[in-house]
Symmetry: C2
């Protein structure tokens, strides 16, 4: 018998074969192989149902085995680890917020899995005490000891979980510590590495008009995420959604479930996270997974995520990303997966593959650039959140009280028209007809107002939400950089105390320069995308806004024309 | 020291500088010149605050002199008696309601002085227990003994006040009993009057296309109320506003203070109130009387009131109204005033001057018509109040949260633009300029939204407010009619018990027919005005609404054009 202790409260969604469990409760695992992040368990009252894996801690028998590697498809329990956020169900939030899709991320304090910022909800929205500020570790003028970009250091909330220090050995890692291989390895690993392997995956950095830039391919990779299909396994016990992804290179669709996206995300984060902000996937959600609206929304966001990855010259050109988009068959996929999981050029070692064409940078300049990027990304993070907050409020007003008010105005006009009709006075049908029409017009306006956010605010919010996620990765990326700067600053002292040789000190400065080129290339990539994205989304927004107000004006003009001119 | 005895309990409105006093209490008047129907007084506990003048009786020094007549301009302290509703001050309401002028009447439970409906605030607005329903006395199927149209019968709230039965003798009349000469006289006075005086002021009723109609003059009287000027008396201690009224007949301006309008109103109510709904004057207000905004508003409403009176063929043609509009000099005015105050054809006796050209109506038809008008005016009263309620809410939203939201959207765009400008990345000024412009556009929209209600909702509200006042007079007018119907129904019984002669019974039925013709003529007048007014106000409203939305669309179009097309 496999027993497990429940770590967090979980409330079953009715009709979903789920089991409600309480923190501290002991349950018996009746089927550990459900997949999709679920196990089947039985409680002390004999009730059986599904429970999210990461809400429980296994007590015996399936305790941590020294398994070969995380993500190995051969290991049957890996699907087990889709981390579902232990938060309020999005379906409930949607209901109370006029179908505002942003109520999900606004109300969800644990947000996107790897996104530090997502975990830091707007104070104005929740009124809860602020989460630890991930920017604190990169605050200006007060350099702190770098703790590594992993979650643990940023979410020191007293929850203890196994940390064997070895990336692939802890199966039951908490959702707060999803990247065991990525944490702990500070930039020293790269800065002081004896010998950099000369591999084939070189990442050159060129000097462009705007400064250091990545190598951009001639044709930009792109893909379409479409055609979500429901599949099932375990004799229909659990079902899932499979998406069809078609890259513009092969034009041949491949199928992936959400958990494959998640696998890709973890690979990219492992490999590039120190140099390139890898935005987290759209929120995973425990409930409502087969609700049409939700699937559409998730698909739209997966599309947004894939598009952003495709646009990135380094990410899109990587072997693992290419594998994901264009594997030939199951065998190809499995082989590729295994290879990707064995990739050792991960974490800060990614810098060892970077080759700037320009000469080494002065550490002072490196530090200045770093400070500038830190300030900018923090400021933009604030700006983006402000837009999300006001947009969220606007959404609520446009779908809640405002259309209700227009409806009431419309009804009031129509009611008055009915009263007038009952007057018994002759020849006022022109007035009453016009008054009724005016009333109906305001009811139509109510509808327009309520529908409008989906037409314009939606894209503005989605884009800013994406940027919020992206910007949430910068504290990690910049943190690695800051730690490297601090290490190099210690150079003389380290030499004096014979911790490193004078040659190693020189190497460290050179490698820091490489890191800075990478950071600058990445910032330039970010800026150019940002300009494109915001130009585009603002145009879309204003276009739809113009149409909206013109439509209303036209409707009112028609209503006006029905009254007799005097 | 001026001392006064409190006649009725008065409960201070918090935050209004008012003083709670009890019936029988002696207070010291610390400032008798507050104006607007208030004095400042100190109680025995040393507390100082405002008390309504007509709640107290002065004991010495400024005790009431045996002045010749109410409203006589020679009586220096008559301004003292402007009955201001002892309610919350409008200035405060304005402040908390985004300068919504309707917050005044919506929040003021004692409303317009003679307007029963105005005293019956929307339950939805105040949440207070409902005031006695004046429509109750004209409810269908449950005829009640007619108690007269005066306030007392309708506001039988246990407050006793002096009623000398003589119209002009009680100076300290309560605001609840403003028309002592008008109450008490039921329709019997007319129905059973031995001899109807044959005066010169005959009021013919013709049969028009729509039924009985008043005699309409060829050119309609009209006047302009303008040029409010501040005057003062009592060595500047008391100041007042004088308005210039110019009728289209003489084209010669005359000056009148508000209290003269009030005098006119009372004369018209006395004389025509039983047959013609005389809407009350715009609310008197204690505070802000010299505030520009308030003067403008009052003038606008006095203009509205005068226009409505001018439009009424009976009222506009009356001697007292003509006197008001075109007195030649002070002497002419004083003589005319005295004559008007001595007019004995008041109350129900107005019916004695009405001469229908058509044959007598059947009592059954009379009752049907009466029921129909009662139903209609009640229904319209509901409809008008609904518009006022939603309009009031819309006003608050448009001047409060909505522009704040647009402002915040505008600021958020501009803030993001500032952040972008700080990026250090080259060539994004097109985006940042456009983003700033878009932000400013939303700030402009905020302003447009906040200003819009004054441009369109204002007139819609004013018109409906006027109609609310007008409709509030119908319970009285219809009540007289109902009482007459009931009296005629009693005819046989009265003859059987020798209370009246058979001839008197016939006379009563004939006179009831005359009353019905008057009511029908008045309803037809009301309907034709209503159709005109609502057609006009809806056109104005929709016109301005169209302009509003077009302006916003145009502004957004310009903002949109600043982004680069891609």
């Amino acid at each position: 018998v496999f027993q497990a202790q429940v770590l967090y409260d979980f409330t079953a969604e009715p009709g979903n074969n789920e089991l409600t469990v309480k923190e501290g409760e002991t349950i018996t695992i009746t089927n550990p192989n459900i997949g999709g992040g679920w196990i089947e368990a039985q409680n002390s009252r004999g009730e059986i149902g599904l429970v999210p894996e990461d809400y429980i801690e296994v007590k015996q028998k399936i305790a941590v085995a020294p398994a070969p590697s995380v993500g190995n498809v051969a290991a049957p329990d890996l699907s087990f680890f889709d981390a579902y956020a232990p938060a309020s169900t999005p379906a409930q939030n949607q209901a109370s917020n006029g179908n505002d899709p942003w109520s999900v991320w606004n109300a969800d304090p644990s947000g996107g899995s790897s996104n530090n910022w997502a975990s830091n909800p707007e104070g104005t929205q929740t009124g809860k005490s602020a989460a630890p500020d991930p920017w604190a570790s990169v605050s200006h003028g007060h350099p702190q000891a770098y703790q590594g970009p992993g979650r643990k250091s940023l979410w020191n909330d007293g929850v203890s979980f196994p940390d064997t220090g070895q990336r692939t050995s802890n199966y039951f890692f908490s959702p707060l510590n999803r990247f065991p291989g990525f944490s702990k390895s500070g930039p020293e690993l790269y800065l002081l590495c004896k010998q950099l392997a000369k591999g084939k995956d070189r990442l050159p950095i060129y000097m462009g008009e705007v400064g250091p830039v990545w190598f951009y391919p001639e044709t930009q990779l792109d893909c379409v995420v479409a055609d979500p299909k429901k599949g099932s396994k375990m004799y229909g016990l659990k079902s899932y959604i499979e998406y069809q992804i078609t890259p513009n290179t092969t034009n041949r669709p491949v199928n992936h479930r959400y958990k494959h996206f998640d696998w890709l995300y973890e690979r990219l984060l492992d490999k590039f996270g120190s140099a390139i902000p890898i935005p987290s996937l759209p929120d995973k959600q425990v409930t409502g997974r087969f609700e049409e609206e939700f699937i559409k929304m998730r698909m739209e966001r997966l599309q947004g995520w894939m598009t952003r990855m495709c646009r990135h010259p380094v990410v899109s050109n990587s072997e693992v990303f290419q594998l994901f988009l264009s594997y030939k068959d199951e065998k190809d996929w499995k082989t590729g997966k295994r290879k990707a999981e064995k990739d050792e050029t991960v974490g800060v070692m990614i810098f060892s593959t970077i080759e700037p064409e320009a000469s080494d940078l002065d550490p002072v300049e490196v530090e200045q650039k770093c400070e500038q990027f830190s300030r900018f990304t923090k400021a933009m993070d604030d700006g983006v959140k402000e837009i999300l907050t006001v947009g969220h409020e606007h959404w609520k007003r446009c779908t809640g009280p405002l259309p209700k008010e227009y409806q009431r105005i419309g009804k009031a006009f129509q009611n008055l028209s009915s009263v007038f009709t009952s007057s018994g006075y002759q020849g006022e049908s022109t007035l009453t007809d016009a008054l009724t029409a005016a009333g109906k017009t305001y009811e139509e306006i109510a509808q327009l107002v309520a529908e409008q956010p989906r037409k314009d605010l939606h894209f503005l919010m989605e884009t800013n939400n994406e940027y919020k996620g992206l910007l949430g990765c910068f504290p990690d990326t910049i943190g690695v950089h800051k730690a490297a700067i601090d290490k190099v600053k210690e150079g003389d002292k380290l030499v004096a105390t014979s911790k490193i040789t004078p040659q190693e000190k020189v190497t460290m400065a050179k490698r820091l320069s490489t890191m800075s080129y990478a950071l600058q290339a990445e910032m330039n990539h970010f800026h150019s995308n940002r300009i494109y994205d915001y130009n585009r989304v603002m145009q879309l927004y204003l276009e739809e806004q113009v149409k909206f107000y013109e439509t209303i004006a036209e409707k009112l003009r028609q209503a006006h024309s029905q009254f007799t001119t005097m």
